[in-house]
Amino acid sequence: MTTAVAAPTFSYYKVIGNQSGPPRPGFTAPIDVALGPGGLLYVLSSYYEYDNKAKFVVKCNLEEDYLGAFGAKGTEDEEFTWPNSLAVDRAGNVYITDEWLNRVTIFSPDGKFLGKWGTLGAKNGEWNRPAGIIFDADNNLLVADSLNHRIQILTPDGQYLAKFGKFGAEPGQLNMPWGIAVDRQGNIYVADWRNDRIQKFSPEGRFLLAVGHTGQGDGEFRRPADVGVDADGYIYATDWRNDRVQVFDPQGRFVTKFLGDCPGYSKWAVDRMASNPENMKEQRELVKDFTQERIFFQPTGLVVDDQNRILVADTGRHRLQVYQKHG
């Protein structure tokens, strides 16, 4: 006998952010978001290379309280060139990968530089363009070693523990992996970026499931950048070049897609627009179609919180769009 389980439904939760940068609340091309203790959010902006005053990490929360920023452009200890992803440990320290500098840089919850590690190479514990990063239940780090086409598992201080994956397009093989997620059972999900699919592995790195292939239809991908998984095993993936988020059930069957539903101004946007309300109002009153404002533009990082909220870094629109799963 089988028991029918009602399919989940989804609603739009909220939008956070606007195009700006510290000291003003806002993001500039945010590419990843991570959850910290006590409802904290850390949002990583890729910023503009030509902006020497960039602050790459904004600390805030879902209520859109702006709590500070840290990280600068450059190659020194606390600086970034091509920051890619971030993860937060149990103590609230923030770990950030940089694909150009080939290292992980670690900051305290308040943005104080704590350390860095990583060496360019292909041996165990070395890497070539580290991308997605996440902590597992044992407080070890999983890192997408993108140009070595593998996943490495390391201690928080960078000691090598294990690896899996190699270059290729066969099941279990990888091509420039990007985002990573871990479910409650410790299974590992990888955005297999240049293979246009999501792959699921056991905690030991054994291939379990591949979801999707190249295309623009439902269940197909054009360069998936990140992946998340909720407590029920539902899989969420940012479909980067298709400008959408796709949702799959635990067996990898397509469920639905989010195209972006931003309803208007975020809290920070309201504050910002207050400086010139009449001009903005006039311009907006002429607009017949707000689709471009609603939809995703280059969604990249994604995370699912413990209340089944799906937070998406909407890179091209300098904001987070948040969805809520029900049921």
């Binding site: 030509y50 694909e99 946007a269 910002r272 471009q292 533009f297 280059q298 904001r319």
Partner: protein, 465 residues
Amino acid sequence: MAHLLRRAGFGAHPDDVEARAAQGYEATVEELLHPENQAPFEDDLIYRYVPYFRSGTGMPSYQGYWMHRMICTNRPLEEKMTLFWHHVFATSYTKLNRNPQANRQIETFRQHCLGNFRTILIELSKDPAMIFWLDNNENRNGRPNENFGRELLELFTMGVGMDGQPNYSEEDVKECARAFTGWTLAPGLPRYPYGDYLWQFEYRPDLHDDGEKTFLGQRGRFNGEDVVDIIVRQRSTARFVSRHLYNYFVADEPGVPSWQSTPPADADTIKALEEEYFRSNYDLRSMLRVLFNSRGFKKARFAKVKSPAELVVGVMRMADDYTAPKPDIHNIANACGYMGQDLYNPPTVEGWHTGREWIDSGALVERINFAGDQLGDPQKPGVRRMADRLAAQATAFTPDELVDQCLQILGDICPTDARRADLVESVRRGGDVKVGRTKAQREAFTQRVAALLRLIVAVPEFQFA
């Protein structure tokens, strides 16, 4: 072959020139003319590492992206023609104040760059950046704005005159403008709070002057497409497009304003291009086939000054150090601007002043320093390949031999005898040139080659394509 690759592309490393030579001249022309047969440009890598190159609002994003693309493309003629249309249909981002829109125009040029001239003109007339740049969004029935109509005739298609005669009248300008009334922009979202949005073309029948018009001797209730149809049939348009192509690909010509009174220097090639324009029904690819296979083109080696973009991209491709995304590529685009060709920002609607007007003392210093920094660096992979190539030929070189070999691998550059003698003397002062067998000796040889390349890029002849 090196000549063809310099003109139809951005030059090539000597190894690539050799490979093309083996393929044959006409086959290479055909390959260049059909970029669609090459793999599409993969921009996912650059967008991954530099996300705002796809979605940014700052102009350096787009300048950096285009520079990246020109250096890394395997479709060089596609980028060269995109740059050509950017020059002919000059639009500056500074007035638009909406950089993604300026980039969309470049994408449109890229899409149609080797296509039909009529199609290009229709696309241009509907291009939001062009509409805003030349105020056609203010061109309305009863309140015409002649900016776009005038430039369409004067700078984009016919030119003011040829063979000493005017090509159109002031009345034609007014009637042309009337035909384009109502070709405007849909109201767009403001930039704040979530970044720039692309404008959309909108045809507004309520703003269009649907009355009868007389244009270039023809009468009717013309709309924009009708006017374009009449324009492309003009002999003057064939001449105008041909002269532009000649000036861009073959040899420096006087500026567009003088074309009414100054006949083409190479009448035979221009005539062949004009005939192909009509025979092919205004097809750019066909015209370029005729051009690249013409005697006039083949004998025009070093007859034009490299534009800054040609110089910068050519040097970068030859140095071969930028084959995948790296940080700060916008600085290379900036170098192009310092030499006088700020991409996306031509100085006026006439485009850039080409030929010897590219060069002033400041620009020349920028050019020499840039080329010297790249090709005088023994660590650049392209420079090392050149040294390896020489090392494979002999165990030692006389100063004359080394100079001649290096001139040849940089593209058969022909300095004056006096300048060549200076180069030889410079090598002579450095002592015997031996390739050597040990790693240290080979490194020393590579450094000698790089030092000589640095001197060669400073000779005036290097500035010519």
